[in-house]
Symmetry: C2
Subunit: 106 residues, 2 copies
Amino acid sequence: MVLMRQEIGDVLRDFRLQKGRTLRQVAGEASVALGYLSEVERGQKEASSEILAAVADALDTPLSIIMGEVSERLAVVEGLSMPLPGRVPDTVPAELMSGYAAELVS
Amino acid sequence: MVLMRQEIGDVLRDFRLQKGRTLRQVAGEASVALGYLSEVERGQKEASSEILAAVADALDTPLSIIMGEVSERLAVVEGLSMPLPGRVPDTVPAELMSGYAAELVS
């Protein structure tokens, strides 16, 4: 069974890392407990719609973008699409991405 | 604040109506209480990931497709995209759609 909270957690963590933010920073800005956000990121807790909205806001990322990414990853898990070739690995932080991208085009 | 459960509820109901299925049928197949599914569709209850997966399964619709539609509607609500011109209204049941589509191309 494909579980959405797993994908949501992965995507939230990846966006956070890409922005170079810590759990503590995002939890603080979103006014959610750090332990709770950590559990959400690990797919262990369902995030309510209110908390999702607050976390998206703290990440300066529209919820539609987050859920679009969740949908794409679900499609991969469901075998409906393949990951893009040369796709940046999910957990690469922003500071490493420019180097990675440069490698791809070189 | 944009609430995801509202969009999820709308999308689940629209997919159900497009397939000409009743709440009772889908709730039965997904093994969830009818009243609960009804509340989910009205955006009054958060659906757990397990229930979302079961309802998607009962609707013969991959979760990625459902969440892709949720993402698109969130983008409209967030002002990031406009609904497609000539888009089929959200709650038109399947039996009416062929006529509607015919009207659009005539």
